[in-house]
Symmetry: none
Subunit: 227 residues, 4 copies
DNA sequence: CATGAATGAGAATTCATTCAT
DNA sequence: GATGAATGAATTCTCATTCAT
């Protein structure tokens, strides 16, 4: 009541430390959930699995997440948001960098993001469909926006005479499919290679850059007019 | 016990008619399950949904299939077998038709098969992962054999100087990804267009052929050396 | 398919026997639930208690009732309906029997009904409030209709010069309260007396009639003008 | 340890201030609990509801009350004690005031007490049954003592020739029932009327006196010999 | 063969209470 | 004293599978 500045400050610090603590715990649970979900899949993962792996009590879980669905959501949302922002950064202005360079950069960024979030990406690709109607819609929207973006780029390219005549929608799907499959593959297979003890979860960016180049080349040479 | 030939024959006929009857029922249930699974997804489909749609009793279901998992298996196995055989028919012999022609033909056949089994294909693409370890292995093997095949074709093409230098594994994944995404898209989006009353589930082969050409072109022009 | 009349008939019989069986089981569960609820109260009764007492499996319970709330509902609804119809039978027509006689008869019927359903009545009086908003509303409506009826009777009596000047609403509450308390008392205390082995759940109608007379006399002599 | 008189005194003062503080807090929580319980009912009220409304921490609650059950107990106990003392004050001595006058006064006091504790009374009437065996016993005892008292009064009245021949036990239940129902009704319905902003929780004693008179008249004219 | 009532292991979620800070 | 994060027993409900008729 009669608290002076000092008291207020101390209280604030206490509160913010508690908040930090809370965020820390929440993240710890999220990290565990990410691992477990990516290993067992959403449906075969029970709350029991989660709390056992996290070493917390049943009730504690619900202190941080309102439901199994909610933690799954939290997991994927963060990735989707990251990807959206990654993708959005493609500029279409007049004095923007050459589109091709931007594509390379964009794919690099996307692959970086996905590879840095390999487990979540795997969950996204393998488990996210069929959770429930809301989530399906969210995914549909996400992929839809991606496809729209790619398709628009293709149409632009066609207008600029850079891209050969083709069905832009189908081609966009091919690009997306190539990307998805590459990610799934790298996320699973590459992981086996690069996640070795000693390597400390570091990602082989060298190799990744190479794969990115290849992926883009695969797509572009199908879209570009033959020289 | 004391059955004469005639009796035996009659019994055989009875047995075989019973067998045919059994097969007929089984198929009917499979057909229903295919539809329901493709509409609701594996996890959201209950045995109740299945038997209600099929108009059979709970116990009857288990006369034909040993479990929910088993009918799902049966559904996808038939498609996988079909696809395997479709794909296998690519000849690599000395006096086989030109490889490019074969590719076109193969993709045509694959797309035909997949589109004729749109519902199952959709299940395969959306629900098949995460059922259980055995199934995951089966899928892994299936896609693995597909990838191996594509990769081998790419390597062959490289040796023959038809395919530009590239990472054959990654490229194979791109091809597979393009194929998957195209099928998923056509399975969902195109279905809305072509499954109209009056059209009676006929498939628009014309359009399909076009999409197949586009898909192949997308892939090939990424693989071929620029002319 | 090619079933003749006989077959049809047999099937019908089978179906109706199954239905009867089902109804029989359902009733058995209801009977058990009535007993358990009346002994332990709604909140302290778990589904576990119910199924253990009924000697059925957890799933079986949900075959007959969709929820704990639902079986409680079923229990009380039947009583409420019974009471409503019992009460409704009071005629107010021109050449109906004298109102006083009808009152006696009505109270007799109500007490009979309640005493024959002692356990349910006890549940109604002790547990029904606070289950949920819907149920509270249902109870409120039920008692409301009862009160309205009593109040109307009082007003009529006043107009006919039979009932002394008084606040009809408060008086109606007193009548209802007297009735409730009597039922609660008889339901609990009397039960101890009359439910003895050997007596076979028979109800001491003699005593009951006496209590009914007393109750009515209590109320009426408070409402009648002093002679 | 080595505390002198002065120190002791100061400490005492400190202690007693702390005690007062404690009592103050405790009362504040009780007040909140009374309101919440009366609004939502015992079972639908969670500790969360209580501490949130009281603006205290979870642990703090348990510093003042050992359990949810305990605070409920405390709430009702105070009312029960109040009522007991209110009722007890009926004198049966030789030169006591005329019994009828005492009844009027007693009912007035009871109604005053109950109406002044409308919320608690409502809890008593609606939620108190079915909490647990101990509490049921306590209630049973309370109402039992009330009934005994009423019954004794009736018997006295009969001996004095004031009360008509009747079953004293049943009649006592009717009196109690009338009282309960009146209180429940006034607690709910009247509250809507008299708890208006501006009136500041004042109770319409005028109207209340009227209801008391009516209630007594209802009961007495049923008990008195017809004039 | 066909049936569908019965089963019970499991799943998610709640909430009164405790205890380290 | 005060706090609120942590706890875990208890509870309701689901649903794939079995089995007597």
């Amino acid at each position: 009541m009669a608290a002076g500045k000092a008291e207020k400050g101390r209280e604030d610090r206490r509160v913010s430390r508690a908040q930090a603590q809370r965020e820390f715990r929440r993240r710890a649970v999220l990290d565990v959930a990410r691992r477990v979900f990516s290993e067992k899949g959403y449906h075969k993962t029970s709350i029991d699995d989660l709390i056992e792996s996290a070493g917390i009590a049943r009730g504690t879980f619900y202190l941080y997440f309102s439901s199994k669905r909610a933690i799954f959501d939290a997991l994927l949302d963060s990735l989707l948001v990251m990807l959206q922002s990654t993708v959005r950064r493609i500029e279409t202005g007049p004095d923007a960098p050459p589109p091709v360079d931007q594509m390379y950069a964009a794919v690099d960024r996307i692959l970086d993001t996905l590879l840095e979030n390999r487990e979540t990406a795997r969950i996204l690709l393998r488990d996210a469909v069929g959770i429930d109607a809301d989530f399906d819609q969210k995914l549909h929207d996400f992929y839809g926006s991606l496809l729209t973006m790619i398709e628009r780029a293709i149409r632009n390219g066609q207008e600029m005479g850079l891209v050969r005549p083709c069905d832009p929608t189908l081609s966009a799907h091919c690009v997306l499919g190539s990307l998805k499959e590459t990610v799934d593959w790298t996320g699973v297979e590459v992981t086996k290679i690069i996640d070795k003890p000693g390597r400390k979860k570091g990602i082989d960016r060298e190799r990744l850059r190479g794969l990115g180049r290849e992926l883009i080349t695969f797509c572009l040479q199908g879209l570009f007019k033959a020289a």
